[in-house]
Symmetry: C2
Subunit: 248 residues, 2 copies
Amino acid sequence: MSAKLHRTPDHSLSPVPLADFKVGVDNVIFSVDTQQNRLLVLVVMRPDPPFAGYWSLPGTLVRQGESLEDAAYRVLAEKIRVNTLYLEQLYTFGGPDRDPRESPTAFDVRYLSVSHFALVRFEDAELIADGVSGIAWYPLAQVPQLAFDHNEILAYGYRRLRNKLEYSPIAFDVLPEVFTLGDLYQLYVTVLGEGFSDYSNFRARLLKLGFLQDTGHKASRGAGRPASLYRFDAAAFEPCKDKPMVFI
Amino acid sequence: MSAKLHRTPDHSLSPVPLADFKVGVDNVIFSVDTQQNRLLVLVVMRPDPPFAGYWSLPGTLVRQGESLEDAAYRVLAEKIRVNTLYLEQLYTFGGPDRDPRESPTAFDVRYLSVSHFALVRFEDAELIADGVSGIAWYPLAQVPQLAFDHNEILAYGYRRLRNKLEYSPIAFDVLPEVFTLGDLYQLYVTVLGEGFSDYSNFRARLLKLGFLQDTGHKASRGAGRPASLYRFDAAAFEPCKDKPMVFI
DNA sequence: ATATTTATGGTACAAATAACTAAAATCAGT
DNA sequence: ACTGATTTTAGTTATTTGTACCATAAATAT
């Protein structure tokens, strides 16, 4: 708790001590099990203090020479093997007292978390169990109390997921390469609930937007007329950038 | 550049050196001069290196015991005297090499910027000239090259401003307490350009949404029929939370 | 075969948006 | 005090878009 003089960038000499930070990234990683229609969140068990024995969002501290995004990708790669994914920055949580390592007496180090939001394909995703700490997909509704302020971060991520689903083509980062319109609709229902158009109107709208290309193949799984299989056409999506996909 | 062993939270002993950070906040502070219909950004002159003599976004480094938001408010209060304003977190810029103080040889300290987005009423805002460094409102189009990656941050802030204007009642944080529908329309035009509804349809929509209460008074400034003065009714806005105000 | 299930392709109605027209209330100048 | 310019206000109308609902097609299960 040294109260030395620090040189600030704007003025000459200031008696106000600056905080020293370690910066972490914590990832809210979502996936959707399209078989069971469940929205899943990736959590890892903390073996060491603080919060030993608690589940938490997968995170790490940023290393020398590493960008925030690099760190976020690294965490992801340590926990899960995927080839495709979506990732963006979410929000930065940085109040004092958010990490017990920095309180109550020590003003030495602050821990700040730059949270990220990621989506992976459930089928492709292979969890990496390192034997030391647990790792698991949790259905969103059943996520227990997490370490630190991670429940708050998760809530923030879920809000972002819902918003993005409305305007962005992120659904296609979660679905398999080819999918039926029924799959797509179910995905929206699993994440958003039932508060939007019925299947028929959803269908009509998506097809009219014109970025779903029919593969010509059919999917037949059990009863019912076989559904056409579609593929997302990223180029054809461009004009639809600002148009909503669904109306919540 | 010590390569000591660091204790990481998740594992035992790791030879990977973590980065040490100073955390800054940089504010994109917008205002609108409703007299001259100009969108303005607040910039300050840097008296000291790095980037001495460059304009930059007003920023500061986070102090011990201070939250990110507190730091953002502090910067604002140091530069400008206002009673009402809007402020929210924008994005966190944290790559290595974004601050010359951390490169090229030194891995000692990284500088990370948690940018914030703020709106103030131009009439209320009184700039605080501390004599040492300059401070000025710049029309957005005429902002020169700024220090660090601040032009990028500014671009990000402007995108946020446009998006918020579509769905949030932030216009009323910039306008005076009472205003005419013409004022409101002009504000939207200055920020968004001409790419949306004409005045007549804008008017009809806003009035129908029902959160503008007529004060009963009229504004007469020069030629033309005097316009009714309105006030924003925050309570009545609630139901309109998700409805767009304009269509871009 | 017949019922059941799921996919597909519609229609009809209500609501919202965009383009446009006209009237009302002021001012500036003659 | 009339005239024209200017700005606010108040509509009308055509077109598009969203919603609710229905009919048929193509498969499976019994």
